[in-house]
Symmetry: C2
């Protein structure tokens, strides 16, 4: 296997024209689109139009004229197409953490008499933290269990199972349909965090009979730093689920100034405050690119990139201290690959100094994201060659690579 | 009184140079800065820098290098100077509605054994709605009472009084220090909504011994449509108040990936998800302009504009169907003026057609905001002349002015 093999894969890549839709700095191989997706070229122009024309010139008339008021549903409907949801089942709102709180709190009364929430130890920590806070607030019980005990803990006391579809560290994916069916068989609902799924390996919520989901806008959707998040409520649950954050944008008639709260009969009930228009506009630019990709092409290319990276590391970095974390089988994972290394933090810094941008996750995980819309197989080859060189020369042992930044 | 009188007031205006810091369309008199503040000229350039350099070029390194991770506190500290708070008492986060939920939910356990929340009927509706949702979620009692009964209802069962400092419709202002003292005397805490206060008439939270506050970024702060909001927790409460939305950004060590939630010991505990960087960057541009204004000048000019408008309407539009809503005394109000009119909706539309942009609030309120940083007394004169003409000619009776838009 050589670079020509990677180049041949690129020659057949149906997504190769998409690279030109993104602005990326010269001289880097960006394997961190799963942390912060790069900026689409269209975003700067679109944002300036929102600022100068919609806000600057048209001012408050843009709530109607530019469709600001419908933006959460409009962009939600677009995201729905990426995750197997129907129109009207997804809205853009708030952050992933806030949305997780909203849907988990809203789910509990749908299962009267049940007060247990189950989640995975090692789930992305904000998910666990938010559930802790909710459980303390409403007097529910939270069980945080190792991955292999999670499903067994879902019993007739359990209202809700909360899982991240693709694990933030290992990239291991749950079988969404099987897990959902197992939870439903015990009378529980399931809330999926799709932060590492959407815009990457994807999923099919309705085929899996999913109940609820949330997800992130700033990773594979290229929505920008701290982009608004999204949430999904299956149509069959929308009439029953009460929003705990009952703000005016979730009211059936937000501008009628009714004295009491009356939830919208649809996904709008999950909105709370005024929609963040600048953030939604940037997010829409990223989502629009994803909608131009042929169905299935993103997931297929992503798996091809991950498979190539894993094979090359195995073949060319053997004995250099790296241990694959997460499943070897590409069908059981999302689009990042994690290797543990005893000097993981310093290794990631040394790679960054050589232009290969990945990230580090405590305690020892080097995480590399393979975003199909802008990465090539040749870049994967080059990244592994640099990784091999950094490991063989032990360049990561230089003291400057051990200095911890605030955000790792 | 004539236009020359207004022009003379403008000649003495210490803020007259500030108009040039905003982009406003030609040919309009914008009396809606209390709904959506206009865009500062600096915002487009700053946003393009955030997009092209911070996001586009520096990517994830900007979390440290560009200070993204500290943006909620950095901009919070700036807003603190506008509302009489100390550094470390204010953070930018989420929406006003979400922040109200967070602080109200966090306040209840600070008053153990008390489960009553009191607020005003006719308070901005999202405030009432959010408190309704919270009360239902945690089993608290919400009393929504007419303005003159609110203080009397605060008793030894009451944990929290929630009021909007400057009323969204009438602009009537509560005496923050007196109300706070009265509530404290009965053992209750007070949560102030400063949405129509900040960047306008202002307030002095610490002089009033305030406990908690929230406020809006897109009105007088010129942060853009749906800008991030802010929250204030008095330093003395920060160690005790537990965030109910316990997301990772509120953790004492967000990047240590600890298995359980451990709140930050300071205002950061009130953060939840990843900060919305694009929205915060735009908000900071608006806040920075306010910090350049001499202390007290904004409030003083605002009262002068409101006084002139009210006097001119009384003098020149008498008998034409307008009724002042809210106090005549400028010391008891914020920086918008409301007149009821039986054909209020159509009247506002007719004024907009003539270039005078105000807004309408059900059932019959025509609301005019007097933003000191970009409005002149001469514009107030001109607006009243147009108002008089529209009323005298009954131009508002034209059928096209009765067509209701989605957002009013």
């Amino acid at each position: 296997m050589d670079r020509a093999h990677a180049e041949a894969l690129d020659a057949d890549d149906p997504l190769r024209a998409f690279r030109d839709l993104f602005d990326l700095p010269d001289g880097i191989i960006y394997l961190d689109g799963n942390s912060l997706g790069p900026i689409p070229k269209a975003t700067r122009g679109r944002m300036d139009d929102v600022l100068a024309r919609e806000w600057g010139h048209d001012l408050i008339t843009s709530w109607n004229k530019a469709g600001w008021i419908d933006a959460p549903q409009r962009v939600g409907d677009k995201i729905a197409r990426l995750i197997g949801a129907a129109p009207g089942e997804v809205a853009v709102a708030d952050s992933t953490s806030v949305n997780l709180f909203k849907l988990a709190a809203g789910a509990l009364p749908l299962r009267p008499g049940r007060r247990k929430i189950v989640t995975e130890a090692g789930n992305f920590h904000t998910d666990v933290y938010v559930l802790e806070g909710l459980a303390a607030l409403v007097g529910a019980t939270l069980e945080v269990l190792p991955r292999d005990q999670v499903l067994g803990a879902v019993d007739d006391e359990t209202a809700l199972l909360v899982l991240t579809h693709v694990h933030y560290a290992t990239a291991e994916a749950w079988d969404m349909a099987a897990v959902t069916a197992a939870a439903h068989a015990r009378g529980a609902l399931v809330l999926w965090d799709l932060s590492h799924t959407v815009g990457a390996a994807g999923c099919d919520l309705n085929r899996a009979d999913a109940d609820l989901a949330v997800g992130c806008g700033y990773k594979h959707l290229n929505g920008g730093p701290g982009a608004p998040a999204f949430l999904f409520v299956a149509e069959r649950h929308q009439a029953a689920i009460r929003p705990p954050l009952s703000g005016w944008m979730g009211h059936a008639a937000p501008f009628a100034f009714e004295p009491r709260y009356r939830p919208a009969p649809d996904i709008r009930a999950q909105l709370c405050g005024t929609p963040p228009i600048l953030g939604i506009a940037a997010l829409e630019c990223g989502v629009d690119i994803h909608l131009r990709a042929p169905a299935g092409a993103v997931a297929a290319k992503g798996r091809s990139l991950c498979e190539l990276f894993t094979r090359l590391v195995e073949a060319r970095c053997g004995g250099l201290g790296l241990t694959l974390v997460g499943p070897r089988d590409m069908a059981r994972r999302g689009l990042h690959v994690a290797f543990a290394h005893p000097d993981g933090y310093a290794l990631v810094q040394a790679l960054i100094a050589r232009g290969v941008i990945g990230d580090f996750r405590d305690p020892d995980i080097c995480r590399f994201g393979f975003t199909p819309l802008f990465l090539s197989h040749a870049e994967v080859w080059d990244a592994v060659e640099i990784l091999r060189d950094v490991l063989e020369t032990r360049a990561f042992e230089r003291p400057e690579f051990r200095v911890r930044a605030t955000v790792t």
